[in-house]
């Protein structure tokens, strides 16, 4: 099941490469909206942890079994972000995050073609913009 918050506590942990090196961390986010959207509709934002910013080009998004860079997302118009499946964000940070509590903030928007172009992302600003949650990391 989904957690109600956009930022999911489940899945928050450091990422480790095959040779055992801690390469960064991952956090899962759900699509807070009434319908799924094409990956190209996502307007990816930054991830902030304890005030430190990780920009979109340091972040990869996983849907299903496939991992996308933000450039790849913008070109993928036939794969849908399903409402029931949170995306996993992989953030590059050598050494990862320390054990303990972290203030996590995630920003992403998306376009809605049936809204006037000048407020293309307005719906998403009210639902998915600027989300914060305190998460506990073990390792």
């Amino acid at each position: 099941m989904l957690e109600k918050d956009l930022i999911q506590a489940r899945g928050f942990k450091n990422t480790v490469s095959e040779d055992g090196t801690v390469t960064g961390f991952q956090v899962r986010v759900r699509l807070v909206y009434y319908r799924g959207i094409w990956l190209s509709q996502i307007r990816p934002g930054s991830v902030f942890v304890d005030g430190e910013e990780y920009k979109p080009d340091q972040i990869k998004w996983k849907f299903g079994n496939k991992v996308y860079s933000v450039d790849e997302l913008s070109q993928t118009g036939d794969i849908m972000w399903n409402l029931l499946e949170p995306a996993t964000l992989f953030v590059v940070k050598p050494g990862g995050l320390s054990m303990g509590y972290h203030d996590v903030k995630v920003d992403y928007l998306f376009s809605s073609s049936y809204m006037p172009p000048v407020i293309d992302t307005l719906i998403s600003e009210t639902t998915t913009g600027d989300h914060k949650r305190k998460l506990l990391l073990v390792e």
Binding site: Y34, G36, M80, S113
Partner: protein, 290 residues
């Protein structure tokens, strides 16, 4: 012969609970409890493998319809014209998207599609090439036996250029494969404060259409979204004049699906939407003399 108005419910109504406290099976059970026979689903929301759907899932869907005694009433689809940043979809891309949905809707047993178009301005004028790609999809709609219906929804007004453009298109092409989905938000009379919205979102208080404007568009109307914001304990919608709407539809012997769509407050409170849907269905039963 009297045409029949059939009761349905859109799964959209439950969107604030979907995935949190209800799955599609729960939604279908909830709808069947009301005696409504039709279900609307949103392709993007309720089909887990959309748009590449396995035959196994289609079989599962058919078993669920059978289990809950529901008919596929309406399939909501989008032509997301601004799907890619910085450009609009071409006419051919739009036709391909429509065709992909026609095939899937047909497999799932749907005939009526709520076809949502992208818009280009504040008054929700649809993209300029809509007549080209809708015309280009008419034969395909015939082939897959589906009907495309743009939803006419507040803040649009019914008696407006956009709606007349749709009706003139229907006349010019001589087609019945394109028609209107009339959403009753158009006819809201009472203030939003009556339904418990205080921030004016998503339906700010604004000009609405009088029910009498509906008369000239009934012949173009394939399906109705029985939008509601709040049904009280006496089974009366507090801001939308259902008595007038229903009287007009009966006068013109309109038949088709009437799909309950809850868009009121507290939709995230578990069970609230279910209760509102039940109240609304009781109201419809009374109005229909069932």
């Amino acid at each position: 012969m009297t045409n029949t108005i059939k009761r349905g419910v859109t799964a959209y109504s439950y969107n604030k609970e979907f995935g949190l406290t209800m799955n599609l099976d729960d939604i279908m059970r909830d709808i069947s409890d009301t005696g409504a026979k039709g279900i609307e689903i949103l392709a993007n929301s309720h089909i887990p493998e959309y748009p590449y759907v396995s035959d196994e899932w289609i079989e599962k869907w058919k078993r669920s319809l059978n289990k809950y005694g529901l008919e596929p009433a309406e399939y909501a689809q989008w032509v997301d014209s601004r799907e890619y940043a910085g450009r609009e979809l071409s006419t051919q891309e739009s036709i391909d998207i429509l065709e992909r949905d026609f095939k899937l809707a047909h497999k799932m047993g749907f005939k009526i599609l709520r076809t949502k178009l992208g818009v280009i301005d504040d008054t929700l004028t649809p993209v300029k090439n809509w007549p080209d790609f809708i015309k280009g999809a008419l034969e395909l709609a015939e082939e897959y036996d589906v009907y495309m219906c743009p939803e006419i929804h507040s803040p649009s007004l019914l008696d407006s250029k956009m709606v007349w453009d749709y009706c003139n298109f229907i006349e010019k092409e001589g087609t019945d494969r394109f028609g209107l989905n009339v959403d009753f938000s158009l006819f809201q009379e009472g203030k939003n404060a009556l339904v418990g919205y205080d921030d004016g979102f998503p339906h700010p208080d604004q000009e609405h259409s009088p029910v009498s404007d509906f008369e000239q568009f009934i012949k173009y109307t394939i399906i109705c979204h029985a939008k509601f914001m709040k049904v009280d304990e006496n089974f009366r919608e507090v801001v939308i004049p259902y008595n007038k709407i229903m009287a007009l539809l009966r006068k013109h012997n309109w038949g088709g699906w009437m799909i309950s769509e809850y868009e009121g407050a507290k939709a995230d409170v578990p069970g609230h939407t279910s209760e509102q849907i039940k109240r609304h269905q009781i109201m419809l039963k009374k109005l229909l003399g069932e």
